[in-house]
Symmetry: D2
């Protein structure tokens, strides 16, 4: 994440500005505003704007509950109640906007979350930066033997070095050929006078999927939490999870009560199927149930036992 | 729009607060924040929060255009370009939240705009206010003879008085019976000790469609403009148009450049069908085209002539 | 649910038609097509069209899994896996369209599900039927004393009769006044020649919320299941639950494997918060945990004990 | 677009099947079902399923218009009316599902249309085909000098050959290295026993943006037309336009009346801003307006004159 001098100056100016507002303010998030949180080797996430705070969730819920409940509940209890019962509309009343720099293959996963607003840097108009993601050595994982979408042991020695060489050389060469076809350098200056460059919308197809792009991404708090529930999770691919982890830190600073409820009722929660519940009720009644006859597959059984802290 | 003492106090407190923020601020909208703009006889619209301003649209667009255009365009020109070419995503980067009090039959039209977040006051939990919409005399229109969804001449004299009597009496009686069934008064106090009240979720069905409800309604600027293009328009029913008109005033205060572009390229714009365009080209070439053979229906022909300021 | 002769004939014609198609067909749902399933006193749900079946879910999932898994999984297992892990996109590949007749206050709850397509009968253009919902005696429930949104004991005797009288008389009177203001009867015939009728878009505001409306409602299977998870549930208001129950029957006929997975992994499933899980792990390890110190509120504790089949 | 023997067989089976259904059928689209329409060098679009036809639009609109209009309008007129006045909800009642094979950089544009359902072939699970898009010689365009997002003259001779060589060599080499890192061939067979392959979710980042992916893409007719209005248009990039053109052919076969209305009121239509309309009214009144003082920029003036078939 190397910023140009101009970008550094713009960030400093944005951070320095102070305005007076009547709107509610989240002190925790104000302190993080505009600062890029580094992610991967060249990426970042930074909060560009936000609307609302914990109390905005409460305020919206009370319109729908009306005056009767106003006195009865205090804010934390109400937020926990809403999270637990998946009353999602009050969380939609907060909004946040990020500027993100990320590899294209991560962007392709990310964009599957449709309930968000996006403006992406366009390679039809502009030239992409000469930056590509190269995994850190400890992330150079083999295909998992047991999980079709997971990672296994880390590659080592010559093999790891070879893979990194291929990734670096291919990305670099393809980027250099991209500029050559454009007949422009990374700052848009003509390389060879008199030679015609290929259209940008075509030349970009030579780039690799680990090239970095960037976008403005805006979502309401409910949809952001849905995104984080999936992506700040051990089943998510590492390269998107690190973005989600950084965003989770901004949520904690922004809406601490919502963050706590999210941790207890979403991140730390588990769902038991009808069959799993029957097994748990059996255990609670002193029985010693077994996989056979439980209606659970072996895999579900193993998962349930792991959940309960038992040997499968 | 009669506020209780408590509500008046809450509004005054909200208006009095001042915070420091690094976020961009719209001075025009800050001045309007929290104040109810009266609409119809008991309704209002008030801005509760917002995010972004004219420059947020520009900033988002420039991520997607990239550094090359940064110098070339100035903000107003870029915003007009985006509006004209219906590049909608940069407008999605601004967000606004309203608190609205409105008759239920207006709420039923309004909610057809799905791209918004809503928290409505719930009559399952709470008791609605004793307020119903009664049209002003000049709004007591007859069914239009030519337009199935329009209004004709205004009713007058005895007939108008009779209609107003019916509306007032029926709404009042039904509301009183609603309380009677609940065995509660409008403040939720038991009317007759020892008598059981009907469940709120049932009793509400006795209310009329001109009873007032209220909600928090939040949308991004793009979807808000879509709403206003349809509802702040002469074809919209008067009772929703007055809400849209009030909201348009808030847009003007909030994002003046966007508002100006909206006026020129959406509100004041017309669309010509392929056949209409052919007629206009004929006129521009000095011909004197007629409806017969134009491919336009009589109605379309009349509309085109009206657009052009000609006799049909 | 009284159909006119014309409507009866249209239904009979629709049911009688047979076409040849290359598209997949759901035999179970074909048998139910077009037939109104009666709901409440005058309402109905009927399937008007559909797209896809169980195998469409599998087919879509296998594009995203690719050739490797093709042989390994059989359809039922894959559908259960997708449901369990909340992989929602394959379920979005099936679509269903209903024609529904329902009271307006139910329609107002229903429409909060935004991820659907709706065309509602418009009272701006047309005259509504003379039909309103009157609860059956066993549904005339008092407000619950413990649950702000629930029902308590059933009203009886004089009190029940009185409530029903009020509901019937108010709805009838208001409807009659609606026609009087329109100066039209329910079939749109002028009542009194020479008198001007109030515009339909205005007169409708005199109707009560138990008047019936109707709409076409279309959703994909994923969003339909979200709707059913909330509305075919004991926490939903009775008057919308009976619609959801009827729709659940159509889902069972349409996509039996999806229906079975929905029952096991959504309807019959429970979610344990982080704190609840800790309690359950304690029980599984032989401990006898108590509410104090568990991090659970009394209400959550009671719920957990009920889930486990234990005394609280 | 080379299909494997298995794929060819699956297609033949799908095409051969015949079922009986009560649902409406579109004969024109039935004839195209399942058949891949070739697009670009290795891509295709094929219709996999559909729901509804022209009459479904009419049927839905008439619920919202009610019985009164039933006799007055005939189908074609009503569909044209709806299209002209942008009444979009009746068009949402039809649905279509495509299977598409397309280059990744096209997929990245396409997916910006959020109102659709997608299941994409996953390179986390599976190995992509050894196919990449190489522009045909007449598509090897230079960057436009006047339009930042357009194409200029076609590259020729050595330069064109050199660009094609770079694209082909880079894509091929990167794909081969992708397999080498995976230690698998394109069919998933291990290349070198005993060597550990890199995880698929990582190796894919070495692919170029002209590699082909595939997905199931489903949308309702309203959102499909929005997609086609933007993408089957001369301003769209050629590589996505050819997909949109093929899809437009399927729309014509499926809903001929809707297609005709779309052509007249969307594709062939133009929008005049408030200022443009003033100029046109001037011309219609016999004046000879000029750019100065018109409120139009030079670019807008040129566009208007071109629209009117006049010299700028």
């Amino acid at each position: 994440m190397e910023l140009t001098e101009t970008q550094r100056q713009e960030l400093a100016e944005a951070e320095a500005q102070r305005h007076e507002t009547r709107r509610p303010v989240s002190p925790g998030l104000e302190a993080m505003l505009f600062r890029p949180l580094p992610v991967l080797d060249h990426g970042f996430v930074r909060v560009v704007d936000y609307m609302g705070d914990d109390s905005a969730v409460v305020q919206a819920a009370r319109v729908s509950y009306g005056r009767g409940t106003r006195a009865a509940n205090e804010d934390r209890g109400l937020i926990r109640y809403l999270m637990r019962h998946r009353h999602s509309t009050p969380f939609e009343m907060c909004e946040i906007k990020y500027h993100v720099k990320l590899p294209i293959f991560v962007a392709r996963q990310w964009i599957r979350h449709r309930m968000a607003n996006i403006n992406e840097y366009s390679a039809r108009y502009s030239i992409l930066d000469r930056e590509f993601y190269l995994p850190a050595p400890e992330q150079l994982a083999a295909q998992s033997a047991v999980n079709r979408q997971g990672r296994g042991a880390v590659l080592e020695g010559d093999q790891a070095a070879h893979v990194l060489d291929l990734l670096r050389e291919d990305a670099t060469r393809n980027y250099d050929h991209y500029l050559e076809m454009l007949n422009e350098d990374a700052e848009g200056r003509v390389i060879e006078e008199g030679r015609t460059g290929l259209a940008r919308e075509l030349a970009r197809m030579n780039l690799t999927l680990n090239a970095y792009t960037q976008w403005y991404w805006k979502a309401d708090l409910h949809n952001l939490l849905n995104f984080l529930a999936l992506r700040a999770d051990s089943h998510a691919q590492y390269e998107i999870r690190v973005y989600a982890d950084a965003m989770l830190d901004t949520v904690k600073a922004w809406v601490p009560l919502v963050h706590e409820a999210f941790r207890d009722y979403r991140q730390g929660a588990v769902t038991l199927s009808a069959q799993m519940l029957a097994v748990v009720r059996g255990i609670a009644a002193g029985a010693d149930p077994r996989q056979e006859g439980s209606g659970l597959s072996k895999r579900e059984w193993r998962e349930l036992m792991a959940m309960l802290g038992r040997e499968a």
